[in-house]
């Protein structure tokens, strides 16, 4: 029905002989939220880093909107409309909140006012603190800033690497509500999470990665109900 925004075919990544990703394929269709879940070291982050051009894959192809972007420079990839919220927020501590948002739109030359208002609409807290240095924000606020910064690039595909990492449960709740709203506003999202419960609730489709390979796929609901997934990633109900 809807077209593929992102298509990954047989992607392999290795770091000095150690294979982190061993041939995975998946796709993300326009308007979807797709999540990759899996344990620490399963190869999720490596996959995102290869898509965004930070590491060069050993083999395989990354196709974005029908164009092969495998191994291209990050700069070229970002210019096509692929923005990433990196793991650990990685906001610029020495730039103000406003500058952090503006730098997300670095490759744009048009007026940013409307987009700033949209981001401030999602995160009113950022507007209050727009003149503060990014480094003075709390962890949750920094995550909001990292998401806002990526949205400023008007992404066709927004990739998020562990947005819940190291945040209080109430803040995580807030971040996932925002992911829902971003989704409803029509942005396609590729989400990577260890917090499988939250991720599967928000996702249209999900893939489970184990040891650098995809071991399972389905809709968010299907995987939430799956016995093996519950055991491995959600903690079985008895233990709750």
């Amino acid at each position: 029905m809807s077209e593929d925004v992102l298509q990954i075919k047989d992607l392999q990544i290795s770091y000095g002989g150690i294979e982190a990703v061993r041939g995975i394929s998946f796709d993300v269709k326009a308007g979807e939220v797709v999540t990759l879940i899996g344990a620490n070291g399963a190869g999720k982050s490596s996959t995102l880093r290869a898509i965004s051009g930070l590491v060069k894959p050993k083999a395989g192809t990354v196709i974005f909107e029908g164009e092969d972007i495998t191994g291209k420079d990050s700069n070229a990839i970002v210019s096509k409309g692929l923005m990433m919220v990196p793991e650990g927020r990685r906001i610029f501590p020495n730039l103000t909140v406003l500058e952090n948002l503006k730098i997300g739109a670095y490759l744009r030359n048009d007026d940013l006012e409307a987009d700033l208002e949209t981001v401030y609409g999602y995160f009113p807290r950022l507007k209050e603190r727009s003149w503060q240095a990014g480094g003075t924000l709390s962890g949750g606020e920094q995550q909001m800033l990292a998401v806002g910064r990526a949205l400023m690039g008007r992404p066709k595909l927004l990739m998020m690497d562990e947005p819940s990492l190291g945040l209080a449960p109430i803040v995580v709740q807030g971040i996932f509500e925002i992911i829902n709203r971003i989704h409803e506003a029509g942005t396609t999202v590729l989400l990577i999470e260890q917090n499988a419960n939250m991720a599967l609730h928000v996702a249209d489709r999900a893939y489970v990665i184990e040891n650098g390979k995809i071991s399972m796929e389905g809709t968010g609901k299907e995987l939430l109900a799956d016995e093996k997934v519950r055991e491995a990633y959600l903690g079985s109900v008895d233990h709750k």
Partner: protein, 295 residues
């Protein structure tokens, strides 16, 4: 009194010239965490270019040309000697910088035959002027003003423009800057271009005051400017400028003390003793940030 004024004036002037070199050190350190040991020699080459250019071309053409060629030299050094080592340990890049430094010094020795070369008299800059009853050269008056204008322009560039924002972002985080679509290599080149341009301007002002250039002429001012950058807090532009003025003024005061005290030979020693004292008691310098990483 007149003597005091003339000592202070020349101190401020020397300080300004150090400041123009020190900014190059501090800018590059801010982005690459690299002490660019070749920077003082780029300054020396700019001086030699000044001699060769003015010998054949009118001043109005040759001086801009000196700045342009020096900028190109700084840019080329980064591309050839530092860029291929981007992923290498920092020590390798530093050793490469030392190599470039020796290369420039020895090339200069080859070209000039090691003879001291006389810097041309630049009209106006070398003319004398009366200030508060003391005779001095125009260059002494103009240097601090020019430095102030250039520093203000530079801080505006860094704090107000998109390129400046990118420079500040890259100085903190290469990878995330790339994820914003920033071309890291262009930003790094920009810092080398700015640093070299300022060093070229500094060389014109500095050598107008000094009789001759040797291939080693860049190393002492370079080292002192480096001390100034460390003193002010390496990575900080206002720090480098203030550090340079303090060192320039102190040095000239020591040189100007009564000759019966016999301390003027210690002016260089003072600068380097200062370096040791700073590194022991306040390693981050006047305005540098403490090297703690927030997790």
């Amino acid at each position: 009194m007149e003597y005091v004024i003339s000592v202070l004036l020349s101190g401020i002037s020397v300080g300004g010239q150090y400041a123009l070199i020190a900014i190059g050190y501090t800018l590059v350190y801010g982005i690459l965490r690299l002490i660019n040991f070749a920077h003082g020699d780029v300054f020396m080459v700019a001086g030699l270019l000044g001699i060769y250019m003015t010998a054949t071309l009118p001043i109005s053409v040759s001086l801009p040309l000196v700045i342009i060629i020096t900028v190109f030299l700084g840019f080329a050094i980064e591309r050839v000697a530092y860029k291929p080592l981007r992923e290498a340990p920092r020590m390798s890049v530093m050793i490469s910088a030392i190599g470039v430094s020796y290369l420039l010094q020895n090339t200069a020795t080859y070209v000039t035959g090691g003879q001291p070369m006389t810097y041309p008299v630049i009209p106006f800059l070398s003319d004398t002027v009366n200030v508060a009853g003391t005779q001095t050269k125009w260059v002494v008056i103009l240097t601090p003003i020019l430095v102030l204008v250039l520093v203000i322009a530079l801080t505006q560039l860094i704090n107000r423009t998109k390129v400046g924002m990118a420079m500040r972002a890259v100085s903190k985080d290469f990878e995330t800057s790339r994820l914003m679509g920033i071309k890291i290599n262009s930003v790094i080149s920009a810092t080398f271009i700015i640093g070299s341009a300022l060093a070229a301007v500094g060389s014109i002002l500095f050598f107008t005051n000094y009789p001759a250039i040797t291939p080693m002429a860049g190393s002492m001012p370079g080292l002192k400017a480096f001390v100034a950058a460390v003193f002010g807090g390496i990575g900080s532009i206002p720090g480098a400028v203030i550090g340079a003025f303090i060192i320039g003024i102190c040095e000239t005061i020591i040189k100007g003390l009564p000759s019966s005290w016999d301390v003027s030979v210690f002016s260089d020693a003072f600068t380097f003793a200062l370096l040791i004292v700073i590194l022991v008691f306040k390693p981050q310098g006047l305005f540098g940030e403490a090297a703690t990483d927030k997790v």
